[in-house]
Subunit: 347 residues, 2 copies
């Protein structure tokens, strides 16, 4: 199918790929680059400072989270509409832009596929209900809303070359993610206290009050917050990691960091909520737990986890190649249905 | 032209027409009702609780300023896209929806006219720059941005029957408008202090700190804040008004309340900034001033203002009929240009 032209519509909260945090932009980037590597003609709609081997189409200079002079609302309207105004140049628009892009889909002939990276609030559901007959992909089987026309689950893929297998296991517990109650930083701290093991906490502070009240008072020589980290920072953490603690308090949608840790050979102790049981194979690449006590007990079983088994599972299920193959199957189905409906492909 | 079908896209911050505050919704309502009265086939896109003789098309139950359960961003995307998804049913979409609606205009064949009720922030200007070749109407000659394709200025029109001519002049100064520094409530208070005349202040509090620091400490038996008022409340104020004080500190875009006061025969003392000199005829329907001192001096000249001259000027320039006739001229020009471009009218 490499004669088909694909538009990948990335978010513009951050650069694509992001410098540090930015899961949606990371996945959009991996898809765009993966498609290019397999010969597709890809145009990436993203911020102007984005880095890609695809054609870059940008009307917003920088991510609105990285430049306070940018009005997010204005930037979003300009960015999303720009992609749809160029719909006629593409055989498919692959949107990673939340609910907003859906509102343009019925105004173009080009088919649109939306990867739902998460339902950012219950209040956006009326938009999904209106456009429920669109084309949707879920990023885990657990993260699905009833009634939407899902064509498949396609797991997020990571670039394994960015996260090399660590030669030996470290002695520290690691938390990696947004500092927010949803991510259970306070539970990771409890595990550190109960086990007496050192803990490293890394990630952007999304909930300042939570950080101030439930994280900061617990910081010490052994429990440290090191700020947001980039890929090199993540690898430095993986190098000294005994395990990644991911004790989320709400259902996880996918959990990119679980795959990244596993790729580096680091076992993951994850709350059995949402997609964690799809990403982590219990007893093989980590442990699924119900509470802090089980997480502490799981620490004793870590030596039984084989680092290369962790990495090889990521290679099979959560690589860019696997993801892109998954999307290629979805694209082909859409092209076929679009042709059968007698609509000219390419708006 | 009554065979043409017009869609009027109203904002959804408030009901159309609004119960109290809501200038954009007021004007959209007056246009829709005025067009219906002249035989046009009009569909009003507005909140579901809106009141109109046009066909009402609504996907949002109530104004997001009146119902905190409504997410403004979600409601706006649903509301605006709904109108454009139905573009094919109309010969013209007349948008009152700020910059957001522009982002859909190139995706439909139906011509779109945008009345710019104000540039809500400098950050929205890139959107106007992108769509500068669209069809725009300004609501005063003073409120224009360079480079946009303005087809005309059409002054806002009010329903004169709502504001009957008061039989006699009262003794109080009246401020009517949002409680915000832009509207110069503090300057009206200064005039009251300097002249010793009683002042009545009415309007929604948009800037709480401003109200607390610069309005509330000045309230007394003679200077009173009476909250937001509806049409009946405005007329009660006009009945006891010596003059309306409108000492705006930034250029006024139009100033509906100036026309409303004049319709009731109440003279207006207005800062000579922005559109005020287009709405008020200096020495005939009120006085244009440069500062508080001039406003105080103007008070002595109020007996020279003839109430019926105030009202008759509003009837000539700022009635619904005059406004609708102005828009009809613009519509005809758009229909003509659209036909000449060989585009089928009606998308």
């Amino acid at each position: 199918m490499p004669d088909k032209r694909i538009a990948v519509l990335s978010p513009i909260a951050w650069r694509t790929p992001p410098r540090q945090y930015g899961a949606w932009e990371t996945v959009a980037s991996n898809i765009a680059e993966g498609l290019v590597a397999r010969g597709w003609d890809v145009t990436l709609f993203a911020t102007a400072d984005s880095i890609t081997r695809a054609h870059l189409h940008a009307v917003v200079d920088r991510g609105y989270e990285e430049d306070s002079t940018i009005d997010p609302k204005v930037a979003e309207y300009l960015h999303i509409s720009e992609a749809f105004e160029h719909a006629g140049e593409f055989d498919l628009i692959h949107s990673h832009y939340d609910f907003m892009a859906l509102s343009y889909t019925r105004l173009v002939k080009t088919p649109v596929l939306t990867t739902i990276h998460g339902f950012s609030s219950p209040q956006i559901m009326p938009v999904y209900e209106k456009y429920r007959d669109g084309n949707f992909v879920s990023i885990s089987n657990s993260d699905r809303a009833p009634g939407l026309n899902y064509l498949a689950t396609v797991y997020n893929g990571i670039d394994l070359s960015l996260y090399p297998l660590q030669q030996s296991r470290g002695d520290k517990l690691v938390f990696l993610g947004r500092i927010h109650p949803d991510k259970g930083v306070h539970l990771a701290i409890e595990v550190a206290h109960m086990s007496g093991l050192p803990l490293r906490i890394a990630g952007i502070i999304q909930d300042q009050a939570y950080f101030r009240d439930q994280v900061e008072p617990n910081l010490s020589d052994t429990i440290r917050y090191i700020g947001a980290v980039d890929v090199a920072g993540k690898n430095a953490l993986f190098a000294e990691a005994r395990a990644l603690l991911h004790l989320n308090t709400i259902p996880e949608r996918f959990g990119l960091v679980l795959a990244e840790a596993n790729a580096a050979g680091v076992p993951v102790i994850a709350m059995d909520l949402g997609s964690c049981r799809e990403v982590i194979e219990d007893g093989v690449t980590g442990f699924l737990v119900q509470d802090v006590n089980q997480a502490v007990l799981a620490l004793d079983r870590l030596p039984g986890i084989d680092s290369s088994a962790c990495r090889s599972r990521v290679g099979r299920h959560f690589s860019i190649e696997t993801m892109v193959e998954g999307y290629e199957r979805v694209y082909r189905r859409i092209f076929k249905e679009h042709a059968q409906n007698g609509l000219p492909s390419g708006g």
